[in-house]
Symmetry: C2
Subunit: 393 residues, 2 copies
């Protein structure tokens, strides 16, 4: 204590506030999701802390995505923050987040001085941390909030989950690592493909500006991180603002920025067959578990390929591994129309698709053993999943 006061005589106070530990801890956890320890820009390993007159803002960024979390002075009648001096500092993120969680008292006093040293006091524990210059922290893009689209958070979460799994993980065509979003005529269409499979979902949304058309490609990794923080507050909706190269998702106390991907997204509509030679309805869960069992052997081989043979009411799922053995299983179809079918496909792709479907039954449309086939949940016409088969016969 004594030592601290001495050094303070030669410096000026740059920031000072008291905050509730649980509020700070929540906000830190949120912005940590944007921070990468592998960044090549040293200041981005830190959390930027800004004390303003209305509350505390924390910022984390990895240049692709940035997250801001705001702690207002008061909320629901209880006091979160008391500001003694507005200011800002950047503190090492990993250490700061661990430290906040482990402080002994429910109140935390944070001070920063002109030498960029932060003093963090809680109960009888007193930390003195070397900070970084907040002026060196990159500015977040200023986004014109004219064209705002509002979307239900639970719907957004489903949209992400049901499309993101089909993005490409290869950088050979970078635009395919993102999900294409089209906003037009009160509808949001999302589509993802890695050129071996495709997932799309279309939902109706409320847009302030009904005449404008937006076409953007959001990186899959950004949507993945966004999805993780959607449950963090109890607001039902999230606002979406789009610019030429950034998208911003925001609720009252949280802002999530992502860069957009450049490049022309391929026209996927021509991939989707419009006719069907064999159509069958199956229990989503039974089919999933049957493929999962077949995959136990198939995954030991290079391709993880399972075979499906459909002949009227019975569907046979099988696979084999030269070394381990083979598996064979029959499923009853709920409904079957069209020709007898032999087809092979990736067990992983099928399981990925089926696991995103909440409906009890799926309808699968085949147009032959070497043509892409379509999976649609019964009861939601907005969802379509497509898989390219693998030649084995």
């Amino acid at each position: 204590m004594q030592e601290m006061e001495e050094t303070n005589q030669n410096t000026t106070l740059a920031m000072k506030f008291t905050v509730q530990k649980d509020k700070l801890s929540d906000a830190v956890n949120r912005v940590m999701k944007a921070i990468s320890t592998r960044t090549t820009i040293p200041i981005l390993t830190g959390i930027k802390i800004t004390a303003g007159l209305d509350g505390i803002t924390l910022t984390g960024s990895n240049s692709d995505i940035s997250i801001k979390s705001f702690i207002p002075l008061e909320e629901n009648g209880s006091e979160n923050v008391e500001i003694d001096k507005a200011g800002s500092i950047v503190l090492p993120s990993r250490l700061f987040s661990e430290l906040v969680r482990k402080l002994p008292d429910e109140q935390i006093l944070i001070e920063a001085d002109s030498r960029l040293i932060a003093k963090i006091t809680s109960g009888k524990a007193e930390f003195s941390l070397n900070g970084l210059d907040p002026d060196e922290y990159p500015n977040l893009p200023v986004i014109n909030e004219k064209d705002v689209v509002s979307i239900r958070k639970d719907l957004l979460k489903d949209l992400i989950r049901q499309t993101i799994y089909a993005v490409s993980d290869s950088e050979t065509r970078p635009v395919l690592t993102g999900v294409k979003w089209t906003i037009k005529d009160g509808r949001l269409d999302c589509v993802a493909t890695d050129s071996h499979r495709l997932a799309q979902r279309s939902v109706s949304i409320e847009s302030v500006n009904e005449t404008e058309v937006f076409n953007i490609v959001i990186p899959g990794t950004s949507l993945n991180e966004l999805s993780k923080i959607l449950d963090d507050d109890d607001e039902k909706n999230i606002d979406l603002v789009i610019t030429a190269n950034q998208v911003l998702f925001k609720t009252r106390n949280m802002q999530f920025y992502s860069r957009l991907l450049d490049g022309n997204y391929p026209d996927t509509s021509r991939l989707i067959p419009s006719d069907s030679k064999t159509t069958m309805t199956l229990s989503t869960k039974d089919l999933y578990h049957s493929i999962e069992r077949a995959s136990l052997l198939a995954k030991e081989e290079r391709n993880n390929v399972v075979k499906l043979r459909a002949d009227g009411e019975q569907v046979e799922i099988s696979s084999q591994s030269a070394e381990l053995g083979r598996v064979f299983e029959t499923l009853n179809t709920e409904k079957f129309e069209g020709e007898t079918l032999h087809i092979s496909f990736s067990a992983k792709f099928m399981m990925d698709a089926l696991s995103k479907i909440d409906a009890q039954n799926v309808r699968i449309f085949f147009t032959g053993p070497m043509r892409p086939f379509i999976i649609r949940p019964i009861g939601d016409e907005g969802i379509l999943m497509l898989i390219l088969p693998i030649r084995t016969f």
Copy 2:
């Protein structure tokens, strides 16, 4: 199905039984704890399945430890197993354990034929797996069950937890990677040391043979695995049988074998100081959390060293990192006797020791800044922990 029956015509049935899925799954999970995927002995990647007249025995082994799990025909009035033909086979462990978990029906039919092919049928799923020859599976040691010691499982679990953390993880003195157990005069003494710290606990036990003295060193890794399976059944006690180079722990349906370590375990009694110059009583939890906070900075440095300064009723805990900053905290002692003290030690060693203590308060006995100090929980005289300090002053 058809295909199976055809091949069966050229072979003879080697084993056939039906088992409840949950019972088989539990038994498989238990023996999997002994199986290493990195073994150099191919047959040890498998699970040995033996159908006898009284039930099914599964065996897993990594040569250091072996686990047998028995499923009796009947238990608590419900039927577990029906044996059609006694016999045995070895099946690939990882595949078999995943498969059992994912089978569709509550009943599983397992058959093996003379070609070592196993057929596993459950509901409409049918697996055919290539097995290995059970005659090639190593025999477990035959242990003479004359000298049996019985111990309460919860006590054994505590004993392991409170000593195993202090074993050496270096192979330079292999005997120190184990915990030394001494059974003598109705007492079991356990001690572990890596030569920088020591943990010991002594408990009274019931032994059939009160006159015999046992001195064994059990590998820490074995005790760690044993600890994980102790909760697997609802028996209160476990039996212990010791031979020259093996120890067997057994309950009604489980047997756990471990090899013993050779070599002379050092006499640790002379390490423990009998006098004390500074003695203090502290809250176990408060001290732990204070060290944990100091460690946040200390662990960024090479040694993870924290400093303790005791001067009457106040204890100061501090640490620093040249790069990140420093931390300083005071604790009130419950009781303090003796000289003023400055000492430095590993935060990790202190946290390891304190986290094994269930008592509310600990008494710490210091005999100077460069002498080992002793931690004892207040209320359990059987437990002693010792730590060597680090020179920093």
